[in-house]
Symmetry: C2
Subunit: 353 residues, 2 copies
């Protein structure tokens, strides 16, 4: 049903260059660390789960180049690569999470040969990818319980096959609803400044023949007020212990407006997006991006004077209590709080180990 | 202090072509009805008070060309021009309001010569312009009472000298605050899709050396939540009898988020923006604009298939009860409702007559 954002075949890592969509559909190869860091920073690949998967494969490709080196050099080099990759984007925890899984393999004191460890890294990267695909399916299944028939959904940013290793998080639920025969329509927030809604979600829904309507971010509120929206679904980049959700800038507004208009609103994310080491959303680092992302379409042909600045955070934080729930592959966390997050996430993670 | 959007000198009507800002600053002449309708439809001039003023001057320029015609032809032609001008944009009531004032002059049964009536139309147009300039000053004065010192204001769309016959409505209050020596900073909503905040308000504030920060529309909510905003001010295109305010798309969201975060939020508009013939915001016609306004920056190089549509309303309606007040030249309407609107607006309009 969906076009994979990430392909790993015959030791070759390829991604759809999402910065070219919708005008041009093209896979590009990522051959080394620099390629991947550039692709992540320039949002050629984005979406919390997707960048985690790319990071894992990239660690493998780099590790492979170190076969023949001593164990010390192998570990030292990979530690440097890990640090550089982790810094590519600060907010989505899946990036650090995936790298940590790879670290657990190469850092273990072992009598195994480097080439054996490299092979284990490869298997782990494939596993991270495959687990995400399955988690997406499971989120779709779990999410179906909150989708009425017919249903008009509002969504923000892109959370589909372009953002994950499967068919998506929030968008996965919409695909699941369609597969189950439900009548589903989607209002797509443009998602300024980079238009992941307009460029990616709208494009994905068109590819999948799902009725969709593009709106400016500012239109979402008045649609909710006028009763046109049954359900709000968006993704997450990092979820704190108490259920606070960092996600694409504007998600807080969407959730708050849904709350005010008594419309069910869910964040949808795999357990890999939870960062239980962080108590509340206040501690989540928020990436600030370039003024040019906002300005470049407006013809500012002069340098801004000192009185004028641009504030361009890529994410905001939605307090858990504004959400009806968080839909994960482990189940739905209703009324997110420290207690309800722990009840769903901790047993699942323990069982997985 | 401010650059006038509209100049009328020696029978020549000129406007700043706002569609070229900020890249190019240029006055263009509007010589006839077609020029003005195009300028209004293409937002070369916009802002509810400004388009009313342009309409009034345009009626004069057209009337002047009818000197020498019979009274019947004169009235019939001007009625046609009135209808065409009124239809240029449907939401802002100031357009119809200004045309109605001109109509009251040329439609009166009179023994006066056509050239006398034409001169009266000219005087009325100048009066509409001058009254708006004075109303802007008075709104600034009235609005000062709600501006703390220091103050960080959030604003949406453009409500300054580009939008009015004076220094502006919401932005006028900011100019008044600066003139009174208060320390004022402004967060400027980009205001998609046409970027009146990014292109016009940001530019105006830079011209006037007022500290300003451009944000995407989606960033406003999280700024409010994090306590960075002291006051929200925006304009209005039409205000119903019960205090419901039609304004640029996104104003509802801004007001609702201010309400939720307990931040004072005011619409600022002259009494000419009130349409007491309309009971509630539900009856205000909302202009829908072209999909291309949203799509054109995203490289859709294919025609959209049938499943995909774009919904691009130019305005939304904020229920009066989400507003702390409406600031007019007649005073501040606190907690807008049918009763409080009537208390301020009706005596003022009666006295003016």
């Amino acid at each position: 049903m969906y076009t994979p954002a990430i392909k790993f075949e015959e030791d070759t890592l390829q991604i759809i260059d999402q910065s070219l969509l919708p005008g041009k559909f093209k896979y590009i190869s990522l051959s080394n660390l620099d390629d991947s860091i550039t692709a992540i920073k320039e949002l050629k690949v984005r979406g919390a789960p997707a960048i985690g998967i790319v990071a894992a494969y990239t660690m493998y490709l780099q590790a492979k180049q170190l076969i023949g080196k001593s164990s010390d050099i192998f570990i030292r080099e990979l530690n440097i690569f890990s640090a550089l990759l982790s810094e590519a984007r600060p907010t989505a925890v899946n990036l650090a999470w995936a790298i940590k899984r790879i670290k657990l393999i190469y850092q273990k004191k072992s009598i195994e040969s480097i080439s054996n460890i490299v092979n284990q890294i490869k298997q782990e990267a494939i596993k991270i990818h495959e687990e995400d695909r399955i988690a997406c399916e499971k989120m779709g299944e779990n999410g179906l319980t909150v989708v009425p028939d017919p249903c008009t959904v509002l969504t923000h940013c892109n959370t589909g096959s372009l953002a994950t290793g499967g068919w998506g998080t929030a968008l996965g639920i919409i695909y699941a609803a369609k597969e189950s025969g439900r009548e589903v329509k989607v209002f797509v927030d443009e998602t300024r400044p980079l238009g992941q809604g307009a460029r990616l979600t709208f494009w994905e829904l068109i590819q999948n023949n799902i009725p969709c309507t593009l709106i400016t971010d500012s239109t979402a509120g008045s649609l909710m007020k006028s009763g046109k929206i049954d359900l709000v679904l968006f993704g997450a980049d990092r979820i704190a212990e108490n259920g606070d959700v960092a996600n694409k800038i504007g998600s807080y507004s969407v959730a708050a407006l849904a709350y005010l208009n008594k419309i069910p609103c869910y964040a949808v994310a795999p357990t890999s997006t939870f960062d239980l080491s962080i108590k509340t959303g206040k501690n989540i680092p928020i990436e600030k991006r370039s003024p040019q992302e906002i300005l470049h379409i407006y013809g500012y042909n002069f340098n801004l004077p000192e009185v004028a600045t641009v504030y361009n955070p890529a994410f905001d934080v939605t307090p858990g209590n504004y959400l009806t729930g968080i839909i994960t592959e482990a189940g739905i966390i209703n009324r997110p709080s420290k207690k309800t997050v722990a009840e769903i996430v901790i047993p699942f993670l323990k069982e997985k180990k």
